[in-house]
């Protein structure tokens, strides 16, 4: 204080309580003990997506009509948006914060729209230094394709070995074309090939090629052979039944199977649904027989609903006991079940009711009670348990440069899980080849707090299907695309949780005008920010955090 102020009379005083000195030295920033920080969070949708699609940013691009940029962003995290937009079970939508406000965003419909809109645009493939190392990928399903794509993008020479005559793995042989049209799959594989990935088809490891040999010729091997072995029913006469997967494979590669009219499909998973709906399209009248009830069916609920709409019959609480041939038909004896105590999966265990056996006749029986990995080419020394390579063995594999992932490792799962596993494998292989430790995944804080006050209720874009009567006569795609207008509107419903979309709320609300818009972002002038926290409170999407000032 340069000049102590002493008033000796009222005449010396100003009329009101006002500082005579300029207060510029003592700015409101000196009050602050909390500091607002722009710190973007992980949107729950992105957190739930095994591929890690950056959904809020993609949605913001779609809402602006920047479909090409949205497509590029999808392809930064996954080479298969056209596939995922159709067959993904979209865990992103289950995690969507919007579901607590009105309805979750229809992310899958938008992903499909973007992929369909942009696939024929020539993707720029920058020339990059080729690396010396060669990587073999065994299996061309979603895990293998994804791993190959990311390694090729990184400059590695990648060869994918496929047992069948065309790449795609379960996407091609397991998923019927009415769910995933073949041209969609073909074009996404073509785009992966454009990055320099080579495909060697009709080559089954363990039959046409040794794993040992592959290992010698490559610097790393990724085993992504999926889970293709159907589990047995374990009953007499089961050799009379076709496996659901075999049936699908045969139809999906364009050959025919005689199944007659009356077809029994045993099982309640996705293979059972696909087999039943495929049989229906071939003119059969399938009945799905499942040993528990509808609520316990492991198939994606959307698939069950579609099967019901198409008129497929369900017989619940029945387990097969024996299959017999009788007068050119098949006769299956079932026993009626009831639900008992919950088992390890948390579902109630089906228990047979004594003396309740009954018989159903059919022209064909398709068994689809689950698949498991088949890894005969792996050395016997590797421990397996129910077809799944346990962790210790995986470490062993990785030390030698052999990696495993996807359904081959975990047992049957989803397409997007396999994509996630393929990405993970690509990262592990990169680290292995460079002699680095694999970087630890940093788990960001999730944006779970949304200020709903800033949003209006808007209905979710409806999912349209071809009429059931029309779609059961052929294999054309059942689910209909959405228009550009609907895609933009739907993307506009995205809260952009945790991801700043420059809504200006912080800038608008700051009572000290301490937030400036700088270079398309925001800057806080800490000379004036008094740490009131209004910006953090009014940020609709949890982008701003408050931290205590360090003394």
């Amino acid at each position: 204080m340069k000049h102590p102020i002493v008033f000796t009379s009222e005449q010396e005083m100003p009329p009101m309580a006002v500082s005579l000195a300029d207060m510029g030295h003592n700015r409101t920033g000196s009050w602050r003990y909390l500091r607002p920080i722009y710190s973007e969070k992980l949107a729950p949708c992105t957190g739930a997506c095994p591929a890690g699609n950056d959904i809020p940013r993609i949605m913001s691009l779609v809402a602006e009509g920047r479909y090409r940029d949205a497509w590029r962003l999808f392809r930064q995290t996954s080479p298969l948006p056209g596939v995922c937009g159709r067959v993904c079970y979209h865990p992103c939508e289950s995690a969507c914060n919007r579901k607590d406000f009105d309805e979750a965003l229809s992310v899958a419909a938008i992903e499909r729209f973007v992929a369909d809109e942009c696939f024929d645009l020539e993707d720029e493939i920058p020339s990059r230094a080729r690396r010396a190392e060669r990587v073999a990928v065994v299996g061309s399903g979603p895990a293998g394709l994804t791993c190959a794509y990311f390694l090729a993008k990184d400059g590695y020479s990648v060869t994918v070995f496929e047992a069948e005559s065309e790449p795609g793995g379960m996407l091609r042989v397991g998923i019927p074309p009415y769910r995933l049209p073949r041209e969609i799959l073909d074009r996404e594989i073509e785009l992966i090939a454009r990055w320099g990935v080579e495909f060697t088809v009709n080559t089954r490891i363990g039959r046409d090629m040794d794993l040992e040999k592959l290992w010698e010729q490559h610097d790393a091997v990724f085993i992504a052979t999926g889970a293709h072995r159907s589990r047995p029913l374990g009953i007499p006469g089961e050799e009379l039944a076709l496996t659901g997967l075999e049936f699908l494979k045969t139809i999906n590669v364009g050959r025919s199977v005689q199944i007659g009219t009356k077809v029994l499909v045993i099982g309640g998973g996705n293979t059972a649904m696909d087999a039943a709906r495929t049989a229906l399209r071939l003119g059969a009248r399938p009945v799905v027989v499942y040993r528990r009830t509808r609520g316990e069916m492991p198939a994606i609920s959307e698939e069950i609903e579609e099967a019901e709409h198409e008129g497929i019959q369900f017989e619940f609480l029945a387990a097969p006991q024996v299959i017999r041939r009788l007068n050119g038909q098949l006769e299956v004896q079932f026993i009626r079940m009831q639900l008992g105590e919950p088992d390890q999966s948390g579902r109630r265990r089906p228990v047979p009711i004594p003396g309740s056996a009954f018989v159903l006749r059919a022209d064909a029986v398709l068994k689809a009670v689950g698949e498991e990995p088949e890894l005969p080419f792996l050395s016997q020394s590797l421990e397996t348990s129910e077809g799944i390579i346990i962790d210790r063995s995986q470490e062993l594999l990785e030390r030698t440069g052999i990696f495993i992932g996807g359904d081959a490792q975990t047992g049957p799962s989803t397409v997007v899980q396999a994509i996630g596993a393929g990405k993970e494998a690509a990262r592990a292989i990169q680290s292995f080849l460079r002699g680095e430790r694999k970087p630890k995944a940093v788990k960001l804080e999730e944006a779970l707090r949304v200020n709903f006050s800033y949003f209006a209720h808007l209905p979710r874009v409806p999912t349209e299907h071809l009429p059931a009567s029309e779609r059961i006569t052929n294999f054309s795609e059942s689910k209909q695309p959405i228009s550009a207008e609907l895609a933009r509107a739907e993307a506009g419903r995205c809260f952009s949780c945790g991801v700043c979309n420059y809504c200006d709320n912080c800038w608008l609300f700051c009572p000290d005008a301490a937030i400036a818009r700088v270079n398309g972002g925001y800057e806080i002038d800490f000379d004036f920010c008094k740490g009131c926290g209004i910006c953090a409170e009014e940020c609709p999407r949890s982008v701003i955090s408050l931290a205590e000032e360090e003394l």
Binding site: E10, P15, M16, A17, V18, L20, A21, M23
Partner: protein, 390 residues
């Protein structure tokens, strides 16, 4: 589109007279919340802002407290500010009224006198404004729509000279919703009479200062002393502003106005619209040969004590009509006048009448009853209720 030709005559309500007064004063910030019977004041002002006749920022708020708070902020930056309210709205502003006065901000407010609830009433009486007596606001009670318009302009003139806020007060419905011929002064003349406000200190980002900070006991009292001095100065400033106004516009009102009061034995004291009725009665009584005069009190704060002493000492009897009641004491104008005259040697007998609460009409017959009562009684009484059904 509302077009206002200044320098013309127009038939307007009291409420619109307020709006035109604010427009001619070129107010820069208006913040208000609607309440019957004030609403039309801000309706017209918002129209004038919308159509460009008035270049002011109109701030919509969620309460009267916020309205005044917004004006405190705006006035601190040196803007000329205006609001209008009534009854409960004014009551809700109470805290901020103190703030405006203590911060020495020359805000002008129009209060349309409305009786306080409960029970709900929308009709006139003065309890709402008189309850704000000690907030440090100047108060002027108006008799006609012309006086309303002119008082808005005068209020800014004085408020900005002495740095105290001013409230002009008009009776609900009797003035607010009744149309009269009003001369709308020429804008150029008003601009000359009332130049732009030049604040002594203002909120300025380029020269930041602290306002309204803590004042310890060794300075607080001085600041209060200065507020009181400013009010005393305002008496002179009002007289000067009124004189100057007359030169510009040919009209003046005085701080108090005696009407035919020379040689009167009894003087009736009124405020607001009752005065107009009383003028008629006084004319009739004087025609009858009775020596009865009238005194209108226009300025209530600061209270023109000296002028009242001059006007009323030596008169035998004074009858004060109060359209208000201080429960447990009596009419407030009567109290104030008695208090002002207590130390005068030749003080009159002062009779306090309470009449016309909650909008009950004060008719010529009521005024005659008050005068007759005063004439017929020798001992003055503090509180005489007129018209109560017993």
């Amino acid at each position: 589109m509302t077009t206002v030709l200044t320098g013309t005559k127009k038939v307007v309500t009291g409420n619109h007279a307020v709006s035109y007064g604010a427009m001619l004063s070129r107010v820069q910030v208006i913040s208000a919340y609607p309440i019957t019977p004030q609403t039309q004041v801000v309706e017209l002002l918002s129209e004038l802002c919308a159509n460009g006749a008035l270049r002011a920022k109109f701030i919509k708020v969620e309460s009267e407290h916020s309205a005044m708070a917004a004006l405190v902020g705006a006035a601190s930056t040196g803007a000329r500010t205006f609001t209008a309210t009534s009854a409960h709205g004014l009551a809700l502003m109470h805290e901020m009224l103190h703030w405006a006065a203590g911060a020495r901000l020359p805000i002008v407010l129009a209060d349309i006198n409305r009786a306080m609830g409960p029970p709900w009433s929308v009709w006139t009486d003065q309890n709402d404004s008189l309850a704000q007596r000690d907030t440090g606001w100047m108060q002027l009670y108006c008799e006609s729509n012309q006086e309303v318009l002119d008082t808005v302009i005068q209020a800014y003139k004085v408020a900005e000279r002495v740095l105290m806020p001013a409230m002009l007060v008009l009776d609900a419905f009797v003035l607010s919703h009744t149309a009269e011929q009003v001369e709308i002064p020429d804008q150029a003349l008003v601009d000359q009479y009332l130049p732009l406000y030049q604040p002594l200190y203002k909120l300025d980002v380029n020269s930041p200062r602290s306002f309204g900070a803590l004042a310890p006991p060794d300075v607080y009292m001085e600041l209060r002393y200065k507020m009181h001095q400013a009010m005393e100065d305002a008496l002179e400033e009002f007289a000067r502003a009124d004189e100057e106004f007359e030169k510009f516009f040919g009209r003046c009102y005085g701080l108090i106005e005696p009407y035919r009061a020379d040689d009167a034995d009894l003087i009736l004291v009124t405020s607001g619209t009752v005065t107009s009725t009383a003028r008629e009665v006084i004319d009739e009584l004087q025609a009858e040969g009775r020596k009865i005069g009238l005194l209108k009190v226009r300025l209530f704060r600061p209270f023109p004590k000296e002028l009242l002493r001059q006007a009323l000492s030596g008169v035998a009897k004074v009858a004060v009509i109060d359209r208000n009641i201080s429960f447990g004491m009596g009419g407030i104008f009567a109290q104030e006048i008695k208090s002002a005259l207590y130390n005068v040697h030749q003080r009159p007998s002062i009779f306090g009448f309470v009449a016309g609460l909650g909008g009950r009409d004060i008719t010529p017959a009521v005024i005659r009853e008050i005068i007759d009562y005063t004439e017929n009684h020798d001992e003055p009484e503090d509180l005489i209720w007129i018209g109560v059904k017993r």
